[in-house]
Point group: C2
Chain length 349, copies 2
């Protein structure tokens, strides 16, 4: 980082689950903040948030809010980003956007620092933070891509409700209590807020995250498919996803099948490779029942990989189990990492 | 069924979760029972169970218990089956065994009536009921095998705790309550009773069902792999499995990727084929958010299939989401179906 230089940082969506983690992570990383502007919807404005021992009042996000801001971390929904990110850029800020608004826009880099930090150099004011389920998967895939090449990915996810926001967490807890006590309840939020139908999440598994597309895949599944190709710079990479919501508060897990472009690789080589790769903690010792689990990932920044097995039939096939805190590496931590990379590479104005 | 003929039926493990469902299913099916003998461990003996309005006292299972029994449904654990199933056969009974004790024994048919009922004709006294997660998958795969041929299966499971027994259900509920109320708890049963370590199941996803094998796969995963090949009579079929336990009481779900031996098949053809296949209910209408879920499967005998999508890259690849009540089609109902098939095919002595 440039010595002594400090930055005016804005967090948009400061009162949300991810926004709160962003503020906490900025503090923990001792990011060089000269001023922190906290922004939200009109509804949440006026709330106070503590940063480095000082109380900061959250203000309503408006175009003028970004005057003088160097870097703005957005996590307040796609429509807010679409409206205000360009306003922030016009006022000289660099935006790190944690929504899907700009992820597939060609001129917007989609960045996971362990994987494609260099893409930041091509930014035009907005940098997109990938979808949570995509981030943890590409962190695990990148070392395999570099060393062996990747042919095909098939992923089935086990996703936590915190990815659907604080209301979804509340709904899951209240429903769970109701089921245990034999009380009635009416699902109102999950699987997708605003979609036609709502289903029980307590003690259930719901194979829908985000809305359905015409091809029968959900938008979440298409995000994993398209974002993975963009981040790994490989439009030919075959990716398929089935995304499932579970009654888990935080921590996404993924059962990933990978076909490499190289035959004859052993599981042990992959374990060794991943154990030395950035952002990854290998947790793979079946004899001691050691493997990653969502409950163990909460509050940690790493991507945990285990259950690494060579396919019993296809010589280039491997199975992995990938777990991470969806609010941290999947969102807040990856965004702050991007901010740090921007500073390190001297890409802020 | 042969007119008027009735049978002396024994249920071994009569007080367990599956045993209870077996007794209920025998009654619902109006299976031609002349006498029902209910057997259990010494610990549960003496309990009374109602069958067709009459109370039957559960007795301790001993070799002599099987005198005069025509058909014995076993679901009391592998060691009980290993000890007592041969004793039952020696006394003239035909055994339908719901444990893994004899499943891979070459001379023992492993049967899902919708798939390989004919295999019953080769029985030597013992018939094995497959593993719950295998049964629902092969019901969905059999029509695809018959019409197109199968090349490769990759399955990731979402399995309910009732598969681990009544104690596991209690543990999940108590843990869930403890987490919601912020109380301490000590996992003692899951993921595998008697294994070295135990982990939280409440609000978590645990990638271990049954003990680990030397090849890094769990025994549950190897059951799915080996049993599927045996039931479908195809040792060349490529099968890989990742089995995961969820905080769900009843209802297993499976994300299944299938490669057919035929190219050019459309998803719509597969939907039509499965909608007309025995034991399957197609629930696949993304526009109306219709797909199978564990919570909807409880108490039903069908295998529910949905989320059918053609792979975006491989022309012979398809993705399915398969859900069923693991205690019914996965256990009790399949066992009673086998008993009905034995009667229908006149295979009881």
């Amino acid at each position: 980082m440039e010595a002594n230089k400090t930055y005016h940082v804005a967090v948009v969506g400061a009162t949300g689950a991810v926004g709160q983690q962003m503020i906490k992570t900025l503090e923990e990383q001792d990011f060089p903040v000269s001023k922190l502007t906290l922004l939200s919807s009109a509804r949440s404005a006026g709330r106070k948030v503590t940063f480095k021992g000082k109380q900061i009042t959250v203000q309503e996000a408006k175009p003028e809010s970004f005057e003088g801001v160097d870097i703005a971390l957005f996590s307040a929904g796609g429509s807010v980003s679409k409206e205000l990110a360009p306003e922030a850029v016009n006022r000289g800020a660099v935006v790190v956007d944690n929504t899907s608004a700009f992820r597939m826009t060609p001129k917007v880099p989609l960045v996971v620092p362990e994987v494609n930090e260099e893409d930041l150099k091509k930014h035009n004011g907005i940098i997109a933070n990938p979808n949570c389920s995509t981030i943890q998967m590409v962190v695990a895939l990148q070392p395999l891509k570099e060393k062996y090449g990747l042919k095909k990915i098939i992923v089935s996810t086990y996703q936590a409700v915190s990815g659907a926001g604080a209301n979804a967490i509340d709904e899951m807890k209240q429903q769970t209590k109701a089921v245990l006590e034999g009380e009635e309840f009416t699902p109102e939020i999950l699987p997708v807020k605003g979609d036609k139908k709502h289903y029980q999440i307590a003690f259930n598994a719901v194979p829908q995250i985000d809305v359905f597309q015409d091809n029968g895949f959900t938008f979440e599944e298409m995000k994993m498919i398209n974002e993975t190709k963009k981040i790994l710079h490989d439009e030919q990479l075959q990716v398929a996803a089935t995304c499932v919501r579970l009654p888990v508060e935080t921590g996404h897990a993924e059962s990933v099948y990978v076909e490499l472009n190289k035959a004859g690789v052993k599981a042990k080589e992959i374990q060794e490779l991943l154990s030395e790769s950035p952002g990854i903690v290998l947790k793979d010792n079946p004899a001691e029942q050691e493997y990653p689990m969502p409950a163990d990932s909460v509050g940690k920044r790493d991507v945990f990989v285990g259950r690494i097995r060579k396919d019993l039939d296809r010589d280039n096939g491997f199975h992995l189990w990938v777990v991470s805190d969806n609010l941290l590496k999947g969102a807040a931590w990856n965004s702050v990492q991007i901010a740090e990379s921007l500073v390190k590479l001297n890409l802020l104005k």
